[in-house]
Amino acid sequence: MTDRISISDLKRMLSEAARCLRERHEYLSQLDCVAGDGDHGTTMLSASGQLEAAVAQAPSQNSRELLKDCGWRILSIDGGASSALLGTFFLGMAETASESDFGCGALAAAFESGLNAVLKQTKARPGDKTMVDALVPAVNALHAAAESGMPIPAALEGAAAAAQAGAESTKPLVAHYGRAKFLGEKTLGHADPGAVSMALLFQGFSEALVPRREIDHGGF
């Protein structure tokens, strides 16, 4: 429990995010079956493996290099849309990331830079029923928390809750991007798999810094 994120904190965050995605990968594929081609869990399982490998094999103690490696590794997965965007997210974070420790503001800035990189690659915006619906509120929450001087664990917990709410909010929407857009009305009532993945990612980040029992495991 610290107020700066050291390289070992970052590694723990990445490992926990990997664990969350791995644990729920079958559910993610089920969600993708409703509105896509059913492979999202497989891709997130690969992403999770790549995050773990990046952490395990990190050659230096450089946070920025670690995030960049995560990004390239995830981009290297033949996972279609979601791995391209998730990889882009990490590469974007790396662009503004500190080389060593982060304060809460720097962390929020890095996440925002990741989000901006994603928003450069896709025209999808909140409400289009994509992973953007979870990413945007998570990054916004983190920013607000940083501005209000919240400690990092609490800030990340808020970001995770916002991401989860964002994922939930995709249920009543109709998809406009990705494969799901061709299914139109069929996507109604089901959460977007990519949004759920982003919520799981932030859940992992948060759980890495907060004792496990404090977390509300939410709806998924």
Binding site: S29, C33, D37, G38, D39, T42, T43, W72, L75, S76, I77, D78, G79, G80, A81, S82, S83, A84, L85, G87, T88, Q121, T122, Y177, G178, R179, K181, F182, L183, G184, K186
Partner: protein
């Protein structure tokens, strides 16, 4: 329907099938990295390279068209999934070795486009001379080109751009040719029976025992028209009319027609469909200038087909007629 396929480890399908391709056509293609299929024979340094990318499980598409007169590099992703951008960057680096220039042909599917954009940005940062063309001809996507997927129209685009490149055209000229081809083509798909996903074993979509769906995408993305299964003539008539309307074809124009089998639909059926298309074009005074019939891009053992029409001008006809020599498309 239970999956019945001859595979080994489902996670190793793609590398194994590419290995098989290279073993079967050693005089035409070679493996040039993980998921990268390249021409076996070199090409003069001043000629433009044609590069493409896309998911696997659609054989012979896309890597089956690497060879003289068509593709120089194909980057193959996992089953039904775009390849990762780093592989595409690697292929572009190889394509542009010795200061060569490359045209990247991308089929409009979300994952492919994201990958391609990321790869293009990296290539630009590395100073590689690459331009990109996006094929988007599936009229079931509606009037907005962004919503139109890239289907079998990649075939004429590879063909004419590849021929232009082979003849020494500049990168801008190759791009212009590819753009002209893709702007003048329209495709519509119909599905009647699903396929199983070779990695998961699950059916890709559901369709009633006597239904067909017009507009079905390459991976079972729903189309616009679910209806009772129709005869060859009726199906061909409906689909052709939709395509002619969308492309606004007039009597006297010259068309290329491609009939692409989805996998299980027989060549027998494709020939019946083609027959009706040829009859209708004749009735309408439209010239059937060129055609291709076969399996160019499949979705495993899905039953159905794609019908593509394209308006040809003299230059496009000349490029379409130019020789090519690839594993699954040849012209003498």
């Amino acid at each position: 329907m239970r999956m019945k396929k001859f595979i080994n480890d489902p996670r190793r399908i793609v590398p194994e099938l590419l290995e098989g391709l290279a073993l079967a056509f050693p005089d035409k293609v070679r493996l040039a990295g993980e998921g990268i299929v390249a021409r076996a024979k070199g090409k003069a340094a001043d000629k433009v390279r044609i590069v493409t990318l896309g998911g696997s499980g659609h054989e012979p598409g896309l890597s089956g068209f690497v060879g003289e007169g068509m593709l120089d590099y194909s980057v193959a992703g996992e089953i039904f999934a775009a390849p990762g951008a780093p592989k595409v960057v690697e292929a572009l680096r190889q394509a542009c070795a010795g200061a060569a220039r490359a045209l990247l042909v991308v089929l409009n599917h979300a994952g492919d486009v994201l990958t391609a954009n990321i790869a293009m940005q990296t290539a630009a940062r590395e100073g590689l001379a690459v331009k990109m063309v996006l094929t988007r001809e599936d009229i079931s996507g509606g009037p907005n080109p962004d919503d139109r997927r890239g289907l079998v129209g990649f075939l004429p685009v590879y063909k004419v751009a590849g021929a232009a490149a082979e003849q020494g055209a500049s990168l801008d000229k190759c791009l212009e040719i590819a753009e002209r081809m893709q702007l003048n083509m329209r495709t519509l798909a119909v599905a009647v029976r699903t396929a199983t996903h070779p990695a998961t074993g699950h059916p890709i979509f559901d369709l009633g025992e006597d239904e067909m769906e017009i507009g079905m995408g390459q991976h079972g993305e729903a189309g616009t028209g679910r209806m009772q299964l129709k005869s060859a003539d009726a199906t061909a008539t409906i689909m052709l009319q939709m395509l002619l309307d969308d492309l606004a074809v007039s009597a006297g124009e010259e068309l290329l027609v491609v009939i692409n089998g989805a996998g299980a639909t027989t060549l027998m059926e494709l020939l019946l469909i083609f027959r009706r298309v040829a009859q209708i074009l004749k009735e309408k005074g439209i010239t059937l200038a060129r055609s291709a019939i076969g399996e160019f891009i499949t979705t495993q053992e899905q039953a159905g087909f794609q019908m593509m029409i394209a308006r040809l001008d003299e230059e496009l006809i000349r490029l379409w007629d130019a020789p090519c020599n690839t594993p699954f498309y040849n012209r003498i």
